[in-house]
Protein backbone atom coordinates (compact mmCIF):
# COMPACT_ATOMS: atom_id res chain seq x y z
CA UNK A 1 0.00 0.00 0.00
CA UNK A 2 1.42 3.33 -0.97
CA UNK A 3 1.31 6.36 1.20
CA UNK A 4 -1.01 8.07 -1.27
CA UNK A 5 -3.73 5.49 -1.02
CA UNK A 6 -3.26 5.32 2.69
CA UNK A 7 -3.65 9.01 3.29
CA UNK A 8 -6.63 9.29 0.98
CA UNK A 9 -8.73 7.45 3.50
CA UNK A 10 -10.43 10.02 5.80
CA UNK A 11 -10.14 7.79 8.86
CA UNK A 12 -6.40 7.80 8.37
CA UNK A 13 -6.31 11.58 8.59
CA UNK A 14 -8.07 11.35 11.85
CA UNK A 15 -5.66 8.65 12.89
CA UNK A 16 -2.67 10.78 11.95
CA UNK A 17 -3.88 13.82 13.82
CA UNK A 18 -4.99 11.99 16.93
CA UNK A 19 -1.99 9.65 16.91
CA UNK A 20 0.46 12.50 16.63
CA UNK A 21 -1.28 14.39 19.39
CA UNK A 22 -1.22 11.29 21.57
CA UNK A 23 2.46 10.71 20.96
CA UNK A 24 3.26 14.32 21.65
CA UNK A 25 1.28 14.29 24.87
CA UNK A 26 2.88 10.98 25.84
CA UNK A 27 6.32 12.37 25.16
CA UNK A 28 5.60 15.40 27.28
CA UNK A 29 4.42 13.08 30.09
CA UNK A 30 7.92 11.67 30.36
CA UNK A 31 9.79 14.90 29.74
CA UNK A 32 7.72 17.63 31.39
CA UNK A 33 9.61 19.45 34.09
CA UNK A 34 6.58 19.94 36.26
CA UNK A 35 4.79 17.05 37.89
CA UNK A 36 1.34 18.50 37.46
CA UNK A 37 1.99 19.24 33.82
CA UNK A 38 3.08 15.65 33.31
CA UNK A 39 -0.14 14.40 34.86
CA UNK A 40 -2.20 16.80 32.74
CA UNK A 41 -0.41 15.65 29.62
CA UNK A 42 -1.34 12.12 30.61
CA UNK A 43 -4.95 13.26 30.50
CA UNK A 44 -4.29 14.34 26.95
CA UNK A 45 -2.58 11.11 26.06
CA UNK A 46 -5.41 9.07 27.53
CA UNK A 47 -7.93 11.20 25.69
CA UNK A 48 -5.98 10.47 22.52
CA UNK A 49 -5.99 6.74 23.18
CA UNK A 50 -9.72 6.93 23.85
CA UNK A 51 -10.19 8.71 20.54
CA UNK A 52 -8.22 5.96 18.82
CA UNK A 53 -10.50 3.42 20.46
CA UNK A 54 -13.42 5.31 18.99
CA UNK A 55 -11.75 5.07 15.59
CA UNK A 56 -11.61 1.32 16.16
CA UNK A 57 -15.31 1.45 17.09
CA UNK A 58 -14.67 0.28 20.60
CA UNK A 59 -16.99 2.82 22.12
CA UNK A 60 -17.59 1.34 25.54
CA UNK A 61 -13.91 0.80 26.24
CA UNK A 62 -13.13 4.30 25.07
CA UNK A 63 -15.50 5.89 27.54
CA UNK A 64 -14.48 3.42 30.22
CA UNK A 65 -10.93 4.63 29.72
CA UNK A 66 -12.08 8.22 30.08
CA UNK A 67 -14.21 7.41 33.12
CA UNK A 68 -11.49 5.49 34.90
CA UNK A 69 -8.48 7.55 33.92
CA UNK A 70 -9.79 11.08 33.69
CA UNK A 71 -12.43 10.52 36.33
CA UNK A 72 -10.45 8.60 38.86
CA UNK A 73 -6.83 7.78 38.17
CA UNK A 74 -5.66 11.21 37.15
CA UNK A 75 -7.65 12.88 39.87
CA UNK A 76 -6.08 10.48 42.32
CA UNK A 77 -2.61 11.12 40.93
CA UNK A 78 -3.07 14.87 41.01
CA UNK A 79 -4.32 14.47 44.51
CA UNK A 80 -1.24 12.48 45.41
CA UNK A 81 1.03 14.97 43.70
CA UNK A 82 -0.50 17.88 45.51
CA UNK A 83 -0.38 16.07 48.84
CA UNK A 84 3.32 15.48 48.26
CA UNK A 85 3.76 19.27 47.90
CA UNK A 86 4.19 19.79 44.19
CA UNK A 87 5.64 23.26 43.67
CA UNK A 88 4.54 25.36 40.74
CA UNK A 89 7.33 26.12 38.32
CA UNK A 90 10.12 24.03 36.91
CA UNK A 91 11.80 21.27 38.85
CA UNK A 92 14.96 19.98 37.19
CA UNK A 93 15.30 17.04 39.56
CA UNK A 94 12.23 15.24 38.29
CA UNK A 95 14.23 13.20 35.84
CA UNK A 96 17.50 11.46 36.52
CA UNK A 97 20.63 12.68 34.76
CA UNK A 98 21.46 9.33 33.19
CA UNK A 99 19.24 9.39 30.14
CA UNK A 100 21.44 7.86 27.47
CA UNK A 101 20.90 4.22 28.36
CA UNK A 102 17.12 4.52 28.80
CA UNK A 103 16.96 6.39 25.51
CA UNK A 104 18.88 3.68 23.71
CA UNK A 105 16.74 0.99 25.33
CA UNK A 106 13.52 2.75 24.38
CA UNK A 107 14.60 3.25 20.78
CA UNK A 108 15.77 -0.35 20.56
CA UNK A 109 12.48 -1.55 21.95
CA UNK A 110 10.54 0.57 19.50
CA UNK A 111 12.63 -0.63 16.57
CA UNK A 112 12.26 -4.23 17.61
CA UNK A 113 8.49 -4.14 18.00
CA UNK A 114 8.02 -2.15 14.82
CA UNK A 115 10.18 -4.52 12.85
CA UNK A 116 8.33 -7.51 14.27
CA UNK A 117 4.91 -5.96 13.54
CA UNK A 118 5.74 -5.10 9.98
CA UNK A 119 7.31 -8.48 9.45
CA UNK A 120 4.30 -10.28 10.86
CA UNK A 121 1.36 -8.31 9.49
CA UNK A 122 2.60 -6.44 6.46
CA UNK A 123 -0.30 -4.28 5.31
CA UNK A 124 -3.16 -6.36 6.63
CA UNK A 125 -6.15 -4.07 6.88
CA UNK A 126 -8.56 -3.96 9.74
CA UNK A 127 -11.73 -5.87 9.04
CA UNK A 128 -14.60 -4.25 10.83
CA UNK A 129 -14.78 -0.55 11.21
CA UNK A 130 -18.25 0.80 11.47
CA UNK A 131 -20.77 -0.54 13.93
CA UNK A 132 -19.59 -0.03 17.44
CA UNK A 133 -19.19 -3.25 19.35
CA UNK A 134 -22.34 -3.65 21.33
CA UNK A 135 -21.96 -3.36 25.04
CA UNK A 136 -24.26 -6.38 25.32
CA UNK A 137 -21.60 -8.60 23.78
CA UNK A 138 -18.97 -7.26 26.10
CA UNK A 139 -21.14 -7.71 29.17
CA UNK A 140 -22.17 -11.18 28.13
CA UNK A 141 -18.55 -12.23 27.63
CA UNK A 142 -17.68 -10.85 31.05
CA UNK A 143 -20.26 -12.96 32.83
CA UNK A 144 -19.97 -16.11 30.76
CA UNK A 145 -16.64 -17.01 29.27
CA UNK A 146 -14.57 -14.66 31.37
CA UNK A 147 -16.54 -14.91 34.55
CA UNK A 148 -13.66 -16.32 36.59
CA UNK A 149 -11.18 -13.60 35.59
CA UNK A 150 -13.96 -11.11 36.15
CA UNK A 151 -14.43 -12.32 39.71
CA UNK A 152 -10.69 -12.43 40.26
CA UNK A 153 -10.36 -8.86 39.08
CA UNK A 154 -13.12 -7.95 41.48
CA UNK A 155 -11.18 -9.49 44.32
CA UNK A 156 -8.01 -7.75 43.20
CA UNK A 157 -9.83 -4.43 43.29
CA UNK A 158 -11.19 -5.17 46.72
CA UNK A 159 -7.74 -6.16 47.87
CA UNK A 160 -6.28 -3.00 46.40
CA UNK A 161 -8.96 -0.96 48.13
CA UNK A 162 -8.27 -2.46 51.53
CA UNK A 163 -4.53 -2.52 50.95
CA UNK A 164 -4.44 1.09 49.82
CA UNK A 165 -6.31 2.22 52.89
CA UNK A 166 -4.10 0.15 55.15
CA UNK A 167 -0.88 1.38 53.63
CA UNK A 168 -1.72 5.03 53.40
CA UNK A 169 -3.47 5.22 56.75
CA UNK A 170 -1.53 7.19 59.29
CA UNK A 171 -1.11 5.31 62.55
CA UNK A 172 -2.98 7.10 65.25
CA UNK A 173 -1.16 8.30 68.29
CA UNK A 174 -2.33 6.66 71.52
CA UNK A 175 -4.07 9.89 72.48
CA UNK A 176 -6.05 10.00 69.25
CA UNK A 177 -6.97 6.36 69.61
CA UNK A 178 -8.31 7.06 73.04
CA UNK A 179 -10.35 9.91 71.69
CA UNK A 180 -11.88 7.66 69.10
CA UNK A 181 -12.85 5.30 71.87
CA UNK A 182 -11.17 1.94 71.62
CA UNK A 183 -12.16 0.50 68.27
CA UNK A 184 -10.64 2.51 65.48
Amino acid sequence: MTFDTWISEPSNWAFSVVGLATLLAGFRVVTAKNVVHAALFLVGAMGGVAALFLLLSAEFVAWALVLVYVGAVIILLLFGIMITRAPTGIDETLSGDKRALPGVLAVALFALITWASVEAFGDATLATIGDPTSTDTLGEMLVTRFVIPFEVVGFVLLGALVGGITIARRDLTPLEEEQRGGLA
Binding site: E59, W63, V66, L67, V70, A72, L76, S134
Partner: protein, 332 residues
Protein backbone atom coordinates in the same frame (compact mmCIF):
# COMPACT_ATOMS: atom_id res chain seq x y z
CA UNK B 1 -34.62 23.39 2.09
CA UNK B 2 -33.21 23.64 5.55
CA UNK B 3 -33.22 19.89 5.86
CA UNK B 4 -31.23 19.65 2.65
CA UNK B 5 -28.75 22.14 3.91
CA UNK B 6 -28.41 20.35 7.21
CA UNK B 7 -27.72 17.04 5.51
CA UNK B 8 -24.40 18.46 4.45
CA UNK B 9 -21.86 17.43 7.05
CA UNK B 10 -20.11 20.76 7.31
CA UNK B 11 -23.22 22.84 7.40
CA UNK B 12 -24.67 20.64 10.07
CA UNK B 13 -21.45 20.88 12.03
CA UNK B 14 -21.40 24.67 11.90
CA UNK B 15 -25.08 24.80 12.79
CA UNK B 16 -24.58 22.54 15.77
CA UNK B 17 -21.55 24.52 16.93
CA UNK B 18 -23.51 27.73 16.68
CA UNK B 19 -26.38 26.19 18.54
CA UNK B 20 -24.14 25.11 21.38
CA UNK B 21 -22.32 28.42 21.44
CA UNK B 22 -25.64 30.17 21.84
CA UNK B 23 -27.47 27.66 23.96
CA UNK B 24 -24.99 27.38 26.78
CA UNK B 25 -24.73 31.07 27.62
CA UNK B 26 -28.46 31.34 27.21
CA UNK B 27 -29.20 28.47 29.56
CA UNK B 28 -26.54 29.72 31.93
CA UNK B 29 -28.14 33.10 32.01
CA UNK B 30 -31.63 31.75 32.52
CA UNK B 31 -30.48 29.63 35.41
CA UNK B 32 -28.34 32.40 36.83
CA UNK B 33 -31.16 34.86 36.64
CA UNK B 34 -33.42 32.32 38.28
CA UNK B 35 -30.92 31.95 41.07
CA UNK B 36 -30.80 35.70 41.63
CA UNK B 37 -34.50 36.24 41.72
CA UNK B 38 -35.42 33.12 43.59
CA UNK B 39 -32.75 33.70 46.20
CA UNK B 40 -34.04 37.17 46.65
CA UNK B 41 -37.58 35.94 47.02
CA UNK B 42 -36.62 33.33 49.55
CA UNK B 43 -34.77 35.89 51.61
CA UNK B 44 -37.54 38.45 51.23
CA UNK B 45 -35.34 40.74 49.19
CA UNK B 46 -36.10 42.31 45.91
CA UNK B 47 -33.18 41.16 43.81
CA UNK B 48 -32.11 42.91 40.58
CA UNK B 49 -34.65 45.47 39.74
CA UNK B 50 -33.64 48.03 37.19
CA UNK B 51 -31.50 46.55 34.46
CA UNK B 52 -33.54 46.04 31.30
CA UNK B 53 -36.67 47.49 32.75
CA UNK B 54 -38.97 44.88 34.26
CA UNK B 55 -37.53 42.53 36.98
CA UNK B 56 -34.03 43.47 36.04
CA UNK B 57 -33.97 40.74 33.40
CA UNK B 58 -30.83 42.10 31.78
CA UNK B 59 -28.86 42.08 35.03
CA UNK B 60 -26.87 38.99 34.17
CA UNK B 61 -26.18 40.23 30.68
CA UNK B 62 -24.87 43.44 32.15
CA UNK B 63 -22.77 41.43 34.57
CA UNK B 64 -21.37 39.48 31.66
CA UNK B 65 -20.43 42.60 29.77
CA UNK B 66 -18.84 43.96 32.93
CA UNK B 67 -16.79 40.79 33.30
CA UNK B 68 -15.61 41.07 29.72
CA UNK B 69 -14.28 44.56 30.14
CA UNK B 70 -12.52 43.80 33.43
CA UNK B 71 -8.79 43.39 33.52
CA UNK B 72 -7.67 39.82 33.12
CA UNK B 73 -5.48 39.29 36.19
CA UNK B 74 -3.06 36.40 36.52
CA UNK B 75 -1.08 35.99 39.73
CA UNK B 76 2.68 36.36 39.32
CA UNK B 77 3.52 32.91 40.67
CA UNK B 78 0.71 31.17 38.88
CA UNK B 79 1.39 28.40 36.43
CA UNK B 80 0.19 30.43 33.48
CA UNK B 81 -0.66 27.83 30.82
CA UNK B 82 -2.55 25.68 33.29
CA UNK B 83 -4.19 28.72 34.82
CA UNK B 84 -5.41 29.86 31.45
CA UNK B 85 -6.46 26.44 30.28
CA UNK B 86 -8.46 25.46 33.37
CA UNK B 87 -11.67 27.38 32.54
CA UNK B 88 -11.55 25.93 29.06
CA UNK B 89 -11.39 22.41 30.41
CA UNK B 90 -14.31 23.11 32.68
CA UNK B 91 -16.27 24.54 29.81
CA UNK B 92 -15.35 21.57 27.63
CA UNK B 93 -16.79 19.17 30.14
CA UNK B 94 -19.96 21.22 30.29
CA UNK B 95 -20.41 21.47 26.55
CA UNK B 96 -19.64 17.83 25.93
CA UNK B 97 -22.40 16.88 28.32
CA UNK B 98 -24.99 18.49 26.05
CA UNK B 99 -24.17 16.02 23.31
CA UNK B 100 -26.22 13.24 24.79
CA UNK B 101 -29.15 15.12 26.28
CA UNK B 102 -32.27 14.04 24.37
CA UNK B 103 -34.46 17.04 23.69
CA UNK B 104 -37.22 15.22 21.99
CA UNK B 105 -37.90 12.15 19.88
CA UNK B 106 -35.03 12.14 17.39
CA UNK B 107 -33.86 15.47 18.71
CA UNK B 108 -30.43 14.74 20.08
CA UNK B 109 -26.94 15.71 18.97
CA UNK B 110 -25.71 12.15 19.03
CA UNK B 111 -27.59 9.21 20.46
CA UNK B 112 -24.59 7.19 21.62
CA UNK B 113 -25.28 3.58 22.47
CA UNK B 114 -23.37 4.18 25.68
CA UNK B 115 -24.97 7.57 26.25
CA UNK B 116 -25.33 7.70 30.02
CA UNK B 117 -21.94 6.12 30.44
CA UNK B 118 -20.46 8.82 28.25
CA UNK B 119 -22.22 11.49 30.25
CA UNK B 120 -20.85 10.19 33.52
CA UNK B 121 -17.36 9.82 32.05
CA UNK B 122 -17.21 13.25 30.51
CA UNK B 123 -18.64 15.05 33.51
CA UNK B 124 -15.51 14.24 35.47
CA UNK B 125 -13.55 16.43 33.09
CA UNK B 126 -14.93 19.39 35.00
CA UNK B 127 -13.15 18.20 38.11
CA UNK B 128 -9.83 18.05 36.32
CA UNK B 129 -10.40 21.64 35.34
CA UNK B 130 -11.21 22.60 38.90
CA UNK B 131 -8.12 20.86 40.17
CA UNK B 132 -6.04 22.62 37.53
CA UNK B 133 -7.50 25.94 38.55
CA UNK B 134 -6.90 25.28 42.22
CA UNK B 135 -3.31 24.22 41.81
CA UNK B 136 -2.17 26.73 39.21
CA UNK B 137 -3.36 29.75 41.17
CA UNK B 138 -0.43 29.41 43.56
CA UNK B 139 -2.74 30.29 46.39
CA UNK B 140 -3.32 28.04 49.34
CA UNK B 141 -7.04 28.75 49.46
CA UNK B 142 -7.32 27.81 45.83
CA UNK B 143 -5.31 24.65 46.33
CA UNK B 144 -7.39 23.57 49.31
CA UNK B 145 -10.52 24.30 47.31
CA UNK B 146 -9.26 22.24 44.39
CA UNK B 147 -8.29 19.33 46.62
CA UNK B 148 -11.65 19.45 48.32
CA UNK B 149 -13.36 19.39 44.95
CA UNK B 150 -11.33 16.37 43.89
CA UNK B 151 -11.95 14.46 47.11
CA UNK B 152 -15.63 15.29 46.95
CA UNK B 153 -15.86 14.26 43.34
CA UNK B 154 -14.14 10.91 43.92
CA UNK B 155 -16.47 10.19 46.81
CA UNK B 156 -19.69 11.09 45.02
CA UNK B 157 -18.85 9.67 41.61
CA UNK B 158 -19.66 6.16 42.83
CA UNK B 159 -23.20 6.78 44.13
CA UNK B 160 -23.89 8.77 41.00
CA UNK B 161 -22.77 5.91 38.76
CA UNK B 162 -24.54 3.30 40.86
CA UNK B 163 -27.85 5.07 40.88
CA UNK B 164 -27.61 5.57 37.11
CA UNK B 165 -26.65 1.90 36.83
CA UNK B 166 -29.91 0.88 38.49
CA UNK B 167 -31.79 2.81 35.84
CA UNK B 168 -29.70 1.19 33.12
CA UNK B 169 -30.66 -2.20 34.53
CA UNK B 170 -34.31 -1.20 34.48
CA UNK B 171 -34.15 0.13 30.94
CA UNK B 172 -31.82 -2.50 29.57
CA UNK B 173 -29.91 0.09 27.57
CA UNK B 174 -27.39 2.85 28.12
CA UNK B 175 -28.68 4.99 25.26
CA UNK B 176 -30.34 8.14 26.57
CA UNK B 177 -33.14 7.93 24.01
CA UNK B 178 -33.48 4.26 24.83
CA UNK B 179 -33.96 5.07 28.50
CA UNK B 180 -36.70 7.56 27.71
CA UNK B 181 -38.38 5.08 25.41
CA UNK B 182 -38.12 2.39 28.03
CA UNK B 183 -40.00 4.63 30.42
CA UNK B 184 -42.67 5.32 27.80
CA UNK B 185 -42.99 1.63 27.20
CA UNK B 186 -43.13 0.82 30.89
CA UNK B 187 -45.87 3.40 31.28
CA UNK B 188 -44.36 5.06 34.31
CA UNK B 189 -41.27 7.17 34.96
CA UNK B 190 -38.53 5.20 36.67
CA UNK B 191 -38.64 7.48 39.67
CA UNK B 192 -41.56 5.44 40.95
CA UNK B 193 -39.49 2.32 41.42
CA UNK B 194 -36.19 4.09 41.68
CA UNK B 195 -37.09 6.70 44.25
CA UNK B 196 -34.03 5.75 46.28
CA UNK B 197 -31.82 5.99 43.24
CA UNK B 198 -33.35 9.33 42.30
CA UNK B 199 -32.74 10.83 45.72
CA UNK B 200 -29.16 9.57 45.73
CA UNK B 201 -28.64 10.86 42.20
CA UNK B 202 -29.83 14.31 43.15
CA UNK B 203 -27.72 14.39 46.31
CA UNK B 204 -24.67 13.17 44.44
CA UNK B 205 -25.15 15.66 41.62
CA UNK B 206 -25.44 18.45 44.19
CA UNK B 207 -22.06 17.32 45.48
CA UNK B 208 -20.61 17.02 41.98
CA UNK B 209 -21.80 20.52 41.21
CA UNK B 210 -20.43 21.81 44.53
CA UNK B 211 -23.78 23.29 45.36
CA UNK B 212 -24.86 23.99 48.91
CA UNK B 213 -24.96 22.02 51.15
CA UNK B 214 -21.85 20.54 49.53
CA UNK B 215 -20.11 23.72 48.44
CA UNK B 216 -16.96 23.14 50.44
CA UNK B 217 -14.64 23.73 47.47
CA UNK B 218 -15.68 27.38 47.35
CA UNK B 219 -16.96 27.87 50.88
CA UNK B 220 -16.71 31.68 51.00
CA UNK B 221 -16.52 31.87 54.75
CA UNK B 222 -13.52 29.53 54.90
CA UNK B 223 -11.64 29.70 51.64
CA UNK B 224 -12.46 33.19 50.31
CA UNK B 225 -13.72 31.76 47.00
CA UNK B 226 -11.92 28.42 46.85
CA UNK B 227 -10.40 27.60 43.49
CA UNK B 228 -12.04 30.69 41.99
CA UNK B 229 -10.22 33.10 44.28
CA UNK B 230 -7.63 34.26 41.78
CA UNK B 231 -9.89 34.32 38.73
CA UNK B 232 -11.33 37.48 37.35
CA UNK B 233 -12.80 38.85 34.20
CA UNK B 234 -14.03 36.56 31.48
CA UNK B 235 -12.21 33.52 32.92
CA UNK B 236 -14.32 33.89 36.00
CA UNK B 237 -17.33 34.24 33.73
CA UNK B 238 -16.46 30.92 32.12
CA UNK B 239 -16.57 29.15 35.48
CA UNK B 240 -19.71 31.00 36.33
CA UNK B 241 -21.53 30.07 33.17
CA UNK B 242 -20.26 26.51 33.33
CA UNK B 243 -21.64 26.13 36.81
CA UNK B 244 -25.10 27.23 35.81
CA UNK B 245 -25.07 25.29 32.57
CA UNK B 246 -23.91 22.24 34.49
CA UNK B 247 -26.76 22.62 36.92
CA UNK B 248 -29.11 22.49 34.00
CA UNK B 249 -27.44 19.59 32.25
CA UNK B 250 -27.24 17.45 35.38
CA UNK B 251 -30.91 18.17 35.96
CA UNK B 252 -31.67 17.25 32.39
CA UNK B 253 -29.85 13.95 32.82
CA UNK B 254 -31.72 13.29 36.05
CA UNK B 255 -34.97 14.09 34.26
CA UNK B 256 -34.07 11.75 31.43
CA UNK B 257 -33.11 8.95 33.76
CA UNK B 258 -35.87 9.19 36.30
CA UNK B 259 -38.66 11.51 35.19
CA UNK B 260 -39.42 10.38 31.69
CA UNK B 261 -37.31 12.94 29.83
CA UNK B 262 -39.16 14.75 27.07
CA UNK B 263 -42.26 12.61 27.44
CA UNK B 264 -45.46 13.58 29.13
CA UNK B 265 -48.44 11.26 29.00
CA UNK B 266 -51.45 12.51 27.14
CA UNK B 267 -49.57 14.50 24.52
CA UNK B 268 -49.89 13.13 20.98
CA UNK B 269 -46.77 11.68 19.44
CA UNK B 270 -46.45 14.25 16.65
CA UNK B 271 -46.89 17.14 19.06
CA UNK B 272 -44.01 15.76 21.10
CA UNK B 273 -41.73 16.58 18.17
CA UNK B 274 -42.16 20.23 19.07
CA UNK B 275 -43.20 20.09 22.70
CA UNK B 276 -40.49 17.62 23.72
CA UNK B 277 -37.79 20.23 24.30
CA UNK B 278 -40.22 22.38 26.21
CA UNK B 279 -41.26 19.50 28.44
CA UNK B 280 -37.63 18.59 29.09
CA UNK B 281 -36.68 22.17 29.88
CA UNK B 282 -39.63 22.65 32.20
CA UNK B 283 -38.92 19.43 34.05
CA UNK B 284 -35.25 20.32 34.31
CA UNK B 285 -35.99 23.80 35.53
CA UNK B 286 -38.13 22.33 38.28
CA UNK B 287 -35.11 20.39 39.46
CA UNK B 288 -32.92 23.45 39.07
CA UNK B 289 -35.41 25.34 41.17
CA UNK B 290 -35.10 22.65 43.84
CA UNK B 291 -31.33 23.05 43.79
CA UNK B 292 -31.61 26.80 44.26
CA UNK B 293 -34.14 26.19 46.96
CA UNK B 294 -31.76 23.83 48.77
CA UNK B 295 -29.18 26.57 48.78
CA UNK B 296 -31.28 28.58 51.18
CA UNK B 297 -32.71 25.62 53.03
CA UNK B 298 -29.66 23.73 54.21
CA UNK B 299 -26.50 24.71 56.04
CA UNK B 300 -23.11 23.70 54.65
CA UNK B 301 -21.86 20.30 55.87
CA UNK B 302 -18.44 19.71 57.39
CA UNK B 303 -15.71 17.96 55.42
CA UNK B 304 -15.90 14.78 57.50
CA UNK B 305 -19.69 14.74 57.32
CA UNK B 306 -19.46 15.11 53.58
CA UNK B 307 -17.11 12.15 53.26
CA UNK B 308 -18.92 9.90 55.70
CA UNK B 309 -22.25 10.62 54.04
CA UNK B 310 -20.83 9.37 50.77
CA UNK B 311 -18.82 6.39 51.96
CA UNK B 312 -20.94 5.18 54.84
CA UNK B 313 -24.45 5.85 53.53
CA UNK B 314 -24.83 6.68 49.87
CA UNK B 315 -22.48 4.05 48.44
CA UNK B 316 -23.88 1.14 50.48
CA UNK B 317 -27.44 2.21 49.88
CA UNK B 318 -26.94 2.71 46.16
CA UNK B 319 -25.15 -0.65 45.93
CA UNK B 320 -28.06 -2.31 47.69
CA UNK B 321 -30.35 -0.48 45.30
CA UNK B 322 -28.45 -1.86 42.32
CA UNK B 323 -28.63 -5.39 43.70
CA UNK B 324 -32.33 -5.05 44.47
CA UNK B 325 -33.01 -3.68 41.03
CA UNK B 326 -31.11 -6.56 39.48
CA UNK B 327 -33.11 -9.07 41.47
CA UNK B 328 -36.33 -7.24 40.60
CA UNK B 329 -35.42 -7.26 36.93
CA UNK B 330 -34.60 -10.97 36.93
CA UNK B 331 -37.63 -12.00 38.94
CA UNK B 332 -40.11 -10.09 36.76
Amino acid sequence: MIADLLSNFWVALVAKLLLVALAIPLIGMVVGFGEMKLSAKMQARVGPYFAGGRWGWAQLLADGIKFFQKEDLIPRDADKPVFKFAPVVVMMGTVALFVVIPWGPGLIFRDLSVGIFYALAISSLTTVGVLMAGWSSANKYSLIGGLRAAGQMIAYELPLVFSALAVVIMAGTMSMQGIVEAQIEAGYPFVILQIVGFVIFVIASLAELSRIPFDLPIAESELVMGYLTEYSGFRFLFFFLAEFANMFSMSAIAVTLFLGGWYLPGIPADALEYLGPVILVVKSLILVFAMIWFRWAFPRVRQDQLQSLAWKWLIPISLANVILTGVFKVVL
